[in-house]
Structures are given as structure tokens and as C-alpha cells.
Amino acid sequence: MLTADLALARRRGDRLELLVVDKKKRDRLVEMGHALTDVFRAHRGQSREALERSYRAVDAGPREVKLRDGLIKLLLDETTFETVVDIDPERVREVVFSASTRAWRSEAFDREAVLDGAALELSVERAHLEAALFGDLRGAQTIVNVPDLSVETLITRFIDGQAQAVLLRAVQIRVRFDRLAPAGVRELYKRLRFLQLLFRVDKRDGRSYEWQIDGPLSMFQAGTRYGLKLAQLLPTLRALGPFHLDAEVRWGPTRETLSFTIDHDEPASGTKFPPALGEDATRLFEQLQESDSGWTTQLSTRMFHFPNLGVVAPDFTCAHESGFAVHVEVLGHWSRAAVWKRVEFAQSGLLEPFLFVVGEHLRVSEEVLAADSDSALCAYKRSPSVRQVVNKLNLLLKRAQGSASSPT
């Protein structure tokens, strides 16, 4: 990952903007990319110090230093270094320094004589002894593996990495998705939980929702403590679909507060935005559409956020001809904890009618939701069946109409 100091950004008023990588810059990136990948390949088997000297010598004009150093950082991230010496350097130092101490104490210190004596004691050539004396220092490490990256890939990573480098200095981000698929919501929620970030979701115009994301202590300290996590979130956001992101960043030596924006409308290179529904949900949705059940189905665009419990994004909504509607979320084999959370939502009485379709192996009984609940669980073995789901929908309809009966 690029570091914040390698971002090609400039301040404009109270905003921070990434510099456009125009043709001239791109051409220089290509030239330097070729030079640097050649340098790295040519130094396989040589020392880190030699590599450092060589890549610093790659020509970069005063305004190109960040371009060069950014490419170097990305190449170093994938380079493997190891200490390769014939003799254990620690053992060599122990023998040399003990002999040297004796020589100093006897007022007979002679550097050459101490090294000759140590080489004799360790039965090694004097040159090997000197090479090993500090042979395990960082600069003496040997390059054992260099990255096998094309220049094109390297430059793509450099450009894609710019926004991520800026987000390392972010205090908080606000991300607006105009149409985030339910599967995407769950993916985002999982990633936020993994990164231990907190969020608030607000409905904006039409079908768009805004996620305000920061960390637990952000409400007390407006620092960049969560910048790394926010930067780590960016690849997930890019994989989910088009979005608009506003970030508050602390920039420059004085950590000035600036705003930073990302408008993303293309899938990350080499990937596609995920489909709206998961595999099981797609199958069930299509089967319900084809069935003659008295229920019509429509992909959902709703999202429900319950503070401290999480987010529920139904896959689709089933509407009865009477006007009664049930949101269906196919949880499949996601997680047992997620199912229990939904039971909590339902028990809290805050939801519109919901049907949660879950795999039986998650070991949550359908009966955990009381017979008078507005919502229900539907547990299945291999794949959810239309018949089971329609039965549950009818059950919820009867309950709503005040004529509940036991499931068939």
C-alpha cells in the first residue's frame, strides 16, 4: 500500500484533490516503471544496500520524486529479503568482541591481529569473517525474490492506490450508494464488523443511502486513528458498485482539516460488481416469480439499520394481492449469529413483516419466533423450496389478518 506522503495530492481551498495522471505523467511512470523493474530484477541475489543505491539513482526530476518513490514502495512490498551468510554473524561477533576486549585491557589492541586471531579460532577465511561480522544487518540482506509485475500492472496499482493513500489520513468517511444490492449490504456490513468500524445509515434521495463510517472513539477524538481501517475498506467499496465518498482528512505537516472526495463508477480493474442477489436468493426469486402462489415478487431497495444490532437488507419483497407485503431475506449459510440478530430485531417489534430464510445447519429453530410475531423464520435443508416459503408467507398473512392458524 502507498503511504500518505506518496499521494499525488494538492490542496485547493479547503479541499484536497488528487492530481490527474495525464499523458505526460503516465509516460514518465512507464519509463520509470521499466527502469525500476529492471533494477529490481538485476539485483536478485545482491544486497538491499546495493538495491537501495541503484533505485535511488533512477532518474527523477524534482517533481517526479513521488512517482518514483511510489513505484519503489509498491515493488518493495512484494520483494523478499533474507540474511544469507556462511557463518553465524552473532557467533562471529561474540568471538571478535571478546578477543578485542582482552586486547584493549592489555593495552595491545591491534585491529588486524584481533581479526586474524578470531578467523583462526573459528577456522574461517579472514575475508569470510569480515563479511559475516555485520552480515545480518538490514542493508546486508540478500534479495531472494523480486516481484513479477508487468509495468502496466504496477502503474495501475500506483494510480488505484492514490485514493487509498489519502484515506490513511481520514478521520471519517461518508459513502453514498445509489443502488446497493442486498448482497452488497451484507458484504459491506461483514467488512465493517471485521474492521471494527461503526456506522450510521441515512436514507437520501430516491433509492440512495449514505453510510457514515468511523470508529468507536471517533466521537471523542477526531484523529486519524481509524485511517488505516478506512483505507482498507476502500477495495470492498470499489467492488460493491458505484459510490460517492466524502472524507474528512488531516493533511500535511500541520494536519490541517480538508475534505476529500471519490466518485467511483467503474468496477475495480479486472473485477465485476457483484450480482444483486446471492445464488440461493436468485433461484428462489425466480421460482417464486414463476409460481402461481398469489404473491408477486420484486427486488428490494430497502435497508433497515438498527443501532447496535446491525443492518438488514431484504433480498426481495413479496406482495399479496390484498396489499399485504413481506420482506424476504435469504440468509442461507451466512452465520448463526446473524440469524439470532434478526430474531432480536423481530422480537423488538420494530420491523415490518419479515421472512428470514436460513439453512438448517445454522441450528436455529423456526419456533424461536413466537406464534404471534409479525415475522417468521423458514429453515431449509439443501436449498429453499418455494412451497415452504409460500406456506410461511401465507401464515404471516393470516396472522396479519387476525386469523392465525398453525403452519401446514
Binding site: P62, R63, V65, E90, R93, E94, V96, F97, S98, A99, S100, T101, W104, R105, E107, F109, R111, V114, L115, L133, F134, L137, R138, Q196, L198, F199, R200, G215, P216, L217, M219, F220, Q221, G223, R225, P253, T254, F306, P307, N308, L309
Partner: protein
Amino acid sequence: MLTLRFVSGSIEIHGDVASAIALPGAARDDRSGCLRAPAVAYAAIVRALTRQKVPFVDEARHYETLALTVRASRDPRPYQTEALDAWRAAQGRGVVVLPTGAGKSHLAVMAISEKQRATLVVAPTLDLVRQWYDLLGSTFGQPVGLVGGGEHRVETLTVTTYDSAHLHMDHLGSRFGFVIFDECHHLPSGAYAHAALACLAPFRMGLSATLERTDGRDANLVGLIGPTVYRKEIGELAGEYLASYDTETIAISFSPEERAAYDEARGIYRGFIQKHHIRMGDPAGWGTFIRLSAGSAEGQEAMRAYRRQRELAFTAPAKMQYLSVLLKEHRHDQIIIFTQDNASAYRIASDFLLPVITHQTKVRERSHILKGFTARTYGAIVTSKVLNEGVDVPEASVAIIVSGSGSVREHVQRLGRILRQGEGKQALLYELVTEATAEGYVSERRRDHDAYR
């Protein structure tokens, strides 16, 4: 009924929060539908709820009360007893300032023994972590945990570095009732302060010999640990509890060729910073120089010149010759040689074949070198900055500062390495300063302390 939970370095208060009394440090968090406070406020929140008889379930605290017995006890010195009394009177939250060698770690052991809570010790370097690890293990005779330096083992007594504490406190912060910040002047820096905020330990102790920071952030320690509850300076303990000492500054001259090379490099560097109105004395001066020097060929030349003049002053041949004289003169003493940078340390180690400790030296080898120094297998150690703080080398009686920064703290810490009391011990600190260079000014700045008057 309210419920307190520890979540990612904060305290969440769930339940009927709308009717909850005003709780210190807590605020409504709409993201999670609860009240939230930084974990440091835990003790104050519990006290407020208890005082007002509000029932609550405490699911936040995950630390144990211990039954530690001290296996090797020794009588405290009067000032250690006074310090412990002062800390206790401040509800077990506060900073104690004592000179190096005065026994700060023994004071900490007394406090751990008194409070009997799961304890986390946070120290700035791996050498100090290893030292605390050995001390706690031998004093209490039970397994000690270690987090940092490639290890992650948590026990009821655990030692960690500031770096690891900052990284891991979000999930470790509920497991200790007592936290000790050794060399606590490090704590107020932006990132490290999080370690204190995200830990709920009700009992907190800060230890330092050199509390004051040039950026004034030592004032933040009041909120992170507690107020300064006890203080003694070197002058108050020297002779009786610390070794007597002398300091000597040796002026080193350049040869005419070296002088010309120095003046030329210095002229290029100074010309650049004057042209761009960079004030190197300002906290942001160095950062500005780095930024501006990268932006032009002239700046890059200025950066090379800066490095050249520094290298000439740090390792002037006459300095190396005088170092050789001192090594001969003190051949029967135990010597620590300090440098400003690693390159100078390795150059001296290579020229004089002396053991060297820098941040690149692995823990096992550091330990071996320090043991060899104690056993007198080695008579001298070269180091850059890693031995500045806390590391206990009681045998050392001579310190030679070959190069250093203008930091008063660093200089006092380096002096402190040789002050551990020994029978008839007379400590000596030499400072080698290249004449008529920036080193003269730097040397004057760092000696601005009572210890050098």
C-alpha cells in the same frame, strides 16, 4: 438496569440510558443506540453509579484480583515509601518522577504488590520490556506475559511496548486493573495516548526521570494517567542514593582540509534554509526542510550537504583518535559509547571491534551483550539511542558521548546510565564536541539542566 460493556477501547452503557444520570466522560452514541465513553473513564463511571445507587451489571471489567506474594523483598528507601504514599492518596492514579537509578521499578513492584490487580506494564523499548519481564518473574514467581517483539502471550502480569499497546489496547484494554507506563513522557504523543484512553484500568502509575516535553504535551498526562504526585531530582539523591559523578566536555579540532569540506557543505545547507526562511529550531522546521529539499535539484543538493557536514562533525578523525585515547585510559572501567545515529555506531564498532546495540540488534543478542558487560567479558558497548532509557547497566561507570542531539532529556538519560550506585563508584561522562561546528551549540542546549551545573 444498566449494563457496562468494553467495546474496542470504549465503554458502552446499555439499558435505560435516557434516564441514566450524567456519567463522566460518556455521551450518547446514535450509531449504537447506547452511551459511550473512552475506557479511561471506567473508574469514574463506576464510582458515579455506585455513589448514586444506580443498579448496573458490569460486563466491562475482565481482570482478576490476584494473590501475589513477593519472593524477594527488600526494604524500600524513604523516598520510595513517600512516593507510594502520595500515589495511594491520589486514588492510585498519578505520575512519579525519580532520577535514573533511583529505583522506579522497585516502586512499581511495591504498588503491584499492594493493589493485587492484573497488571500491564508498558515500556518504550524491547530492552526495557525484557528487563521488566525478568523483574516481575523473579519478584512474584509466576508466569509473565509478553506482547511485542514477535510474541503475544497475555498473563495476569504482562509487559508490552508502547507500539504494541497502541495496536492491541482495543481488545486488551479490559483485562488489566492496573497499568504502569514506564518512561511515561512517551505517552502523550498522538498515537501512544490511545493506549491510555482505550484501557479501563482504574489504577494507573506513570514513571519518568525526564517528564517535561518540548511540545508541552506532558500536561496531557493528567487525563491519561493522573497528576504528578511525587518528584525528586538527581541533585537531591546524588551521593547518598546515586553515584557521584563528573562531566567533561572535550573540544575536538578539524584538520584544515576537514574544516574546508565542513564549511563548504555547511554553507550549501545553510544557504538553502535561509533562502526558504526555514527555522530549524521550530518543531515543523525539519519537516519543512525535507519537503522543500525533495522539490528541486538545489534542495536535493542541500540535503546531501546537510548529511555530509553532519557526518564530518560526528565522526571527525580527531574524534575517533581521542576516543581511542579514552578507551585506553579507561581500559579497566566499563564504558558506554553513545552516538547520534546508527551509521556512526557501526563505524566505531567496526573500527574498534566493540559490541554494538542498535534497534537492529535482536533481543537475544542484546541480552547476551548486556550479560557479557555485567560479567566484564566486554568492557565497552557502542549504542546509538536504544540504551538512552531505563536499561539497567549498573556496572557502567564511564559514558562517552561521541555525538548526540540537543535534547536535554536524552543527555540526562545518558548520564543516568552510569549513576547506579556502587561501592566507591565515581562516574564520569565525556562529551566529544567538534569545535566551531553546529555541535557546539547543540552541546550547550542539551546541558541546560541542573545535573550539569
